[in-house]
Symmetry: C2
Subunit: 178 residues, 2 copies
């Protein structure tokens, strides 16, 4: 069965974005040019053919500017209250997210990228639908912000398969569901 | 100058204890016996001669049972409202924590272990007094609990010096203040 992978960056203190949803703190590297495959991104990106995201995460991506960054993937945006407006290669989904994702996982295709945010992460984790968590920790303390999993998340165990250090400000931990 | 090192364990989602202060989730390893120097603990422990902790953290340690685990160190417990009752090798400190720690760092001795919890971590981080953060991440999601840094923590940058994987449920990240 194809895997659902939560591939996401967070701060040392477990926040995936500022309170307003910004992830600019991820991109303040004084370093020279960033390798295209930095943090294993291209390898990961080629392992998936579908992305899932909540509406707030979608808006944050759109606000980064056009063009939409995943044009070659099947992209699903979960929202009960919003209609698609922008001309982007995404499909808005109003139906039950757990059922939708369960069905999606039955298809015999490449893996699925769970982009976030905290609310959809919580819903899918609680239902044991997340198979892999790939967390890239940026070595900053945010102090406050949007947590990796929203309020109401259950206790869950994972198994670490790999850890890696990228330059001096990113560490990546890869985990599988136990 | 001697360093102040925050050496602490947290969950994937950034909690150092459950809401009630318990850290039992750290010790549920089905694995065989744990190596005495697991997670580099003995090497770390021999690099320090002093520990700092808040009152709640102290109570949690005491509740683990006697004997007190750091008898060969100088142990300071910060509390404005509590007096020492137990017969443990600790000293209660009522004076200003920032001043006290600043003075302590001037002494020409071994490094200092900041044990926690979130409130004292916040105070010392905000004043740039934490030189090193050694975080051991256990691969569980707690969902809720006591955060690594209490509410009111400022944005701070660190530099990763080392990452390491210990068995299949712990990853350690070592960082220095930038």
């Amino acid at each position: 069965m194809r895997k659902l992978k939560l591939y996401i960056a967070q701060s040392i203190d477990g926040f995936i974005a500022t309170e307003k949803g910004s992830v600019e703190w991820l991109n303040d590297n004084e370093n020279e040019e960033i390798d295209e495959n930095a943090y294993g991104y291209l390898d990961f990106y080629s392992s998936i053919d579908t992305t899932l995201m909540g509406y707030n995460t979608y808006k944050e991506i759109v606000n980064f500017g056009i063009p939409f960054p995943y044009p070659d993937k099947k992209n699903y945006v979960f929202s009960k209250n919003h209609e698609k407006k922008e001309d982007n290669p995404v499909e808005f989904i109003k139906s039950n997210i757990v059922e939708f994702v369960s069905n999606l996982k039955q298809l015999d295709e490449k893996d699925i990228w769970l982009i976030g945010g905290g609310e959809i992460n919580k819903i899918l984790l609680n239902k044991n639908l997340i198979d892999e968590i790939i967390i890239t920790i940026k070595s900053v303390v945010l102090g406050k912000g949007i947590p990796l999993f929203a309020n109401g998340t259950d206790f869950k165990k994972f198994k670490i398969t790999k850890v890696e250090k990228f330059d001096d400000s990113f560490a990546q931990i890869i985990m599988e569901r136990k």
